[in-house]
Subunit: 173 residues, 2 copies
Amino acid sequence: MIAVLRIGHRIYRDKRATTHVALVARAFGADKIFIDTKDQKIESTISSVCSRFGGSFKIESGISPQKVLKQWSGIIAHLTMYGDEFNKTINKIDKDQNILIVVGAEKVPPYVYQMSDFNISVGNQPHSEIAALAIFLDRYTNGDWQKKRFDGKIEIVPSNKGKMVISRNEDKR
Amino acid sequence: MIAVLRIGHRIYRDKRATTHVALVARAFGADKIFIDTKDQKIESTISSVCSRFGGSFKIESGISPQKVLKQWSGIIAHLTMYGDEFNKTINKIDKDQNILIVVGAEKVPPYVYQMSDFNISVGNQPHSEIAALAIFLDRYTNGDWQKKRFDGKIEIVPSNKGKMVISRNEDKR
């Protein structure tokens, strides 16, 4: 199981960034996202994407990050620009275990660094936790997102010009 | 030269997403970002990152996207969930030419699809233009961001526990 823990979510300020984090988690192969602050709106946005575009991604907001970290059975990897070298570190992770990937909004409390098995930097330059999560999941899964089938009611057909969308009627499935 | 064109930027709503786009562009090897709407605040945020963390990344906001697209000498690649298959398409791009990578905020006007040489999907699931740009640049440059030196006043030293930061005094350089 691959899960993501989003820490430091502020409902107003982070609504779009956390939505991006959740959508990236889903699109790049995670099974679930935990968000510390309760946010009904993001829960319904993501659930709506799942019901239209398919897959079995889960979202849970309003949780204690310490509790999730403490109770996690498997690897904990915290993505931070202060972390250890990406390429070197990602190969040390035992992929047979569950993994919880932690991404912060701005400042991350020290206990996250301490409770993580790996503090990993997707580059040591300031950029984006959204990008870091995508690159991490891409490497961790060896690009499996490219083959993943979501079997949703809506499916986009790749096209070089224009938009091709298949909408499936639920009754006919 | 690798440049990014951000289209549909709304100063208030997109300030954080566009900042992420610009920082990802810089961290993953682009040389410049164009942003359609004039936004002095983002310009100074990004310039401040550049002056502290180094590199020669440029930002220009308040431009006509049609004009930038029309005058671009090189490849134009538009990242969109409706676009053509990522792996198949990225290999078709001539890397000896300049490239302009276009990322939209929400709806992108039809002329962008038409004026682009490639409309490319980093997966056909809804996620994030920030993630799409990172994955695209990672593949396009064969992961060169991992070796890139920025020689900034501030440098983060990779570490598995805690934060290690080198601050160089400008006068001593």
